[in-house]
């Protein structure tokens, strides 16, 4: 029960703190509108299905990803500057649980950004939104959210270990837009890059959502559901191992402090 209290307290604390930051507000409230309008214009002349997939869900997923990069990952860096990293690190509740709660808190806002872009694009462009299979859509969105939480968790572990991981955060934002089929089909990429794309879970989530829009049988969708679950579990496993090692390593390397 107390572990659940820790998770909810940490999620609520992050939920409130994050939205207090102007940059985060821009990321989850304004950026979905801009991305939605931009992608809506780009896909306006395309089929309703392409419009739904890239303008509606693509804009939402890209802002969700941006919020993961600029919140879940960089929050560790921010806590370090606030001087709260040491306080939460030494708390008896356990650092890994507190960080997980924070990432869940941020992801709630990230999910909201999908809803914002969905609403904006639907209202502004008045195009028909095509969803052929709501079950695949539900599964895709839920698994994608869990997967992005896992990625945020992995990033948080890296940020605790290294004060220079901020570079990684900036480096990761655009490659995911390009590689994962969020803004255009990955089939347009060179073959080698397509293999690389399958190392990122958003690629698999986009595939599931694609089947939700275009329609598809269980046999067609299940490999992507399985792949996304395996990748998410892989991210989680690596995160847990890293958090176990962090406990000693960040104290040896003195990375909890600003300097």
């Amino acid at each position: 029960m107390q572990s659940l209290n820790v998770l909810t307290a940490s999620a609520m604390q992050q939920f409130r703190t994050s939205i207090g930051r102007p940059m985060f507000r821009f990321c989850v409230l304004v950026q979905p509108i801009i991305f939605g309008l931009l992608l809506g214009m780009m896909y306006l002349e395309k089929s309703d299905m392409d419009f739904t997939l890239y303008a509606v869900f693509g804009s939402g997923l890209s802002t969700f990803w941006a919020s993961i990069c600029f919140s879940s990952a960089s929050d560790i860096h921010r806590e370090r500057w606030y001087g709260t990293l040491e306080t939460i690190y030494a708390a008896p509740a356990g650092f890994k649980w507190i960080v997980l709660g924070k990432i869940i808190g941020n992801s709630i806002w990230g999910f909201l950004s999908i809803c914002i872009s969905f609403s904006v694009v639907t209202l502004v462009f008045q195009k028909q939104i095509v969803i052929s299979n709501y079950l695949w859509l539900g599964i895709g969105l839920i698994l994608m959210t869990l997967s992005l939480i896992a990625i945020g968790y992995l990033f948080a572990a890296l940020f605790t270990l290294s004060r220079n991981a901020r570079v990684l955060m900036n480096f990761m934002e655009y490659p995911v837009y390009i590689l994962c089929g969020i803004l255009f089909p990955i089939e347009q990429l060179p073959e080698l890059l397509r293999y690389l794309a399958y190392g990122f879970s958003p690629t698999w989530a986009v595939k599931i959502i694609r089947y939700a829009v275009w329609g598809g049988t269980w046999n067609e969708v299940s490999p992507y559901i399985g792949g996304l679950m395996i990748l998410t579990l892989g991210y989680l496993l690596i995160s847990v191992i890293m958090f176990e090692r962090i406990d000693a390593k960040c104290r040896v390397d003195a990375t909890l402090e600003v300097y």
Binding site: Q2, N5, V6, A9, S10, M12, Q13, R16, T17, G20, R21, Y82, G83, T84, E86, T87, I88, Y89, A90, A91, P92, A93, I98, A248, R251, V252, A254, L256, E257
Partner: protein, 270 residues
């Protein structure tokens, strides 16, 4: 009073070296020895002062003892447990405040801050309301408990930090320059609170640059310079040593004693 009691904190030949990379293209590794083998014991109920110039190793010592930093070698024990390796037996029994206005979430209210810290210190929610009422009252922030921390003055933030540090009813509190930047009134209020904490039987390890504060509060003082303890005794004991060494019978203030040990004599390890 101390010799027949087990120390609550025990530090023996503690060393800590930091490594840093210098340069951009041709990076070179540089090592800085922050602690060069310090030793001291702190006993239950003591207010123990750690004085020294900037960069002397005070904060490094506190960070090791609060389980936030690993020692390079030597022993750092709290309640008989190693601060590095047995921290799970220590963390719920201690708390700490580092100087300045950090370690709080400024965009949250004082109350939301304490509620969050109470949860991560595993204080049952059924007890939290009463505890928070009591702590806000104790630090004099009841009227502003629902205000955002960013609207607090420096002194108010420091008092909120004290409330945070008392949430888990710690047996030992580490205060690293708690009065840094406070005005005289706020500093006096802080001293009163530290005294009250000690009166409750808690052990306090205090670092400060303010000699008057150390003189008023500390039972014993260790003076640390360049990573080494250069003197350790009660204020009266330090005074006697300084008087004998300088052949000066004048009534020395703690500042005189401090300057004597930092500048006025060759380092003699204790």
């Amino acid at each position: 009073m101390l010799s027949n009691t087990y120390p609550v904190i025990s530090v023996k030949d503690l060393k800590r070296t930091y490594s840093a990379k210098i340069g951009v293209m041709n990076q070179k590794k540089k090592s800085v020895e922050a602690l060069k083998g310090i030793s001291f014991d702190i006993y239950p109920g003591e207010i123990f002062g750690l004085l020294g110039p900037n960069g002397a190793g005070k904060t490094t010592t506190i960070k090791i003892l609060t389980t936030l930093l690993a020692p390079t070698s030597g022993e750092a024990k709290v309640f008989g447990y190693e601060a590095f390796g047995e921290e799970k037996f220590i963390r719920h029994r201690i708390n700490f405040i580092f100087g300045g206005e950090r370690s709080l979430y400024w965009r949250l209210s004082g109350e939301d801050n304490l509620k969050f810290f109470a949860d991560i210190y595993k204080i049952p929610r059924s007890k939290q309301n009463e505890l928070l009422d009591c702590l806000f009252d104790e630090v004099g922030l009841t009227d502003v408990r629902k205000h955002k921390v960013e609207t607090y003055s420096k002194g108010m933030k420091q008092r909120l930090q004290i409330a945070r540090a008392l949430l888990n009813e710690p047996e030992v509190i580490f205060l690293d320059e708690p009065s840094l930047g406070l005005d005289p009134v706020a500093a006096r209020a802080l001293k009163k609170m530290v005294r009250q904490i000690a009166d409750q039987g808690k052990t306090v390890l205090l670092t400060t640059h303010y000699m008057q504060e150390a003189e008023e509060l500390c039972d014993r003082i260790a003076i640390i310079n360049d990573g080494e303890v250069v003197a350790l005794d009660t204020i009266a004991g330090l005074k006697t040593i300084a008087q004998n060494e300088s052949n000066n019978d004048a009534n020395l203030s703690l500042e005189d004693i401090y300057v004597h040990f930092i500048e006025g004599r060759a380092i003699c390890k204790v």
